[in-house]
Amino acid sequence: MNDTTMERILFQAPKPIAPLGLLERLQAEIALPTAKQATKAREWQNPLRRWFPALAFSVFMLSCAIMIAVQANWNTNLKNENAALRATTADLPKLREQHAALEQAQAQHDELVQLRRDNEEMHQLQAEVAQLRSLPAEIQRLQNENQRLAAAPAQNGSATSAATFFEEAQAQFERAQCVNNLKQVGLAFRIWAGDNNNKYPTSLVVMSNELSTTKILVCPSDKARQSFASLGFGQFQDSMSSYQLTVQPDDENFPECIIAKCPIHGNYLLADGSVQQTNPAKPQYHEVQKDGRWYLERINP
């Protein structure tokens, strides 16, 4: 028996016949999965579940749109801020000018405060002067008393010492008067400079409006020039003053330099308005010239 024959016989094998009733039983037992289908249908009936993909996509797109809107809003705000900053920057030169003017006003205010302080000091000195003015009368009274006492032979020795005391008092008074004069001259310098671009005048007569009288231009100890003290500014000249001027226009920038001095008392008016007293009998300072300006320098012992 060859393979072909065997295969033919095997392919033609008898087919058993199913028993009667089996088909009916099988058909009766058909149980299709309708329950699952019903469940599935119920699931689809839920609209949220059915539309979930579309809803999720819509929510995502809405979120994107909101984010874009927020970013656009930020962008607009930033642009507005940028424009405002540019506008502010455009006014910058003007603001700088205002700032410079403010600083200048502040400087003027400081200067005014300084002048007020000087004025107060001047009033104080004037009060002192008034007090000292009453001193000659007292001296006169004391001299009379002295003469009366001198008439007595037993009291000759003490009269000499009393005369010396009065002379010293007179000299002290005149010295104080000289300092006061220089103070007022210094104040006049500063007021004049305030009105003339911070430049000092090189003449005393020029600032006559800032000086109250010509008396302050003559030292009380300068007996030779006392007659000039009664002149008005119309006749007064710089050479009539007891005080020697060494001032230069821009001396305000060099507060320690000498702008005027009294050769009798050794009182120096400095550029900052202060008066430095020295004792000509026992000099502790001497004048030094630096860069064309005069300064006081302490003498080393």
Partner: protein, 188 residues
Amino acid sequence: MSDTADILCERARKGDLFAASELVTQFYQRIFAYLRRLSGNDDDAADLTQKTFARTWQALESYQRRSSFSTWLHGIAHHVYLDWRRKRTLGDSQSDEWWEAQSDHSPTPFENAAEREMARQLYRWVDELDDEKKQTVHLHYYQNLTLNETAEVLGIAASTVKYRLREALDFLRRRSVESESHTERRVV
């Protein structure tokens, strides 16, 4: 037929009882015959056929159409039979009388008594094959499944099916030669 079966299957999946009934009508004879040859008696074959279709309806939702409905149904029947075999220690198969009865009473294409006798012996020798080869022969020859369909039902490669069939034919040839030589000795 395959297309028709697939259409009926699709309708059955949607709950069409008539389509399911039509599927049963089309396939129950083939499935019964397959299980009858393997199980050895009508009652067990009928039970196994019922189980096969019951599982078919349960698994209808998971049918992916990777194979034809016929192949898929044979696969279920094959697994139903294996489960039944595991529960039973029975190793016997149908007797010679059954095959003789089938040959005598069923309409067969064999013309003469010698050819019928040859077929009867051949079917008996098939039942002497080991399980793997026997089931391969049943599915390919008796059930008329193609090599690929047989491979899909058994879950093996088509080349393995070819190998098993060649081995089975070799065995049948040897038995045939032995039988012929035995007959000649008896005649002498």
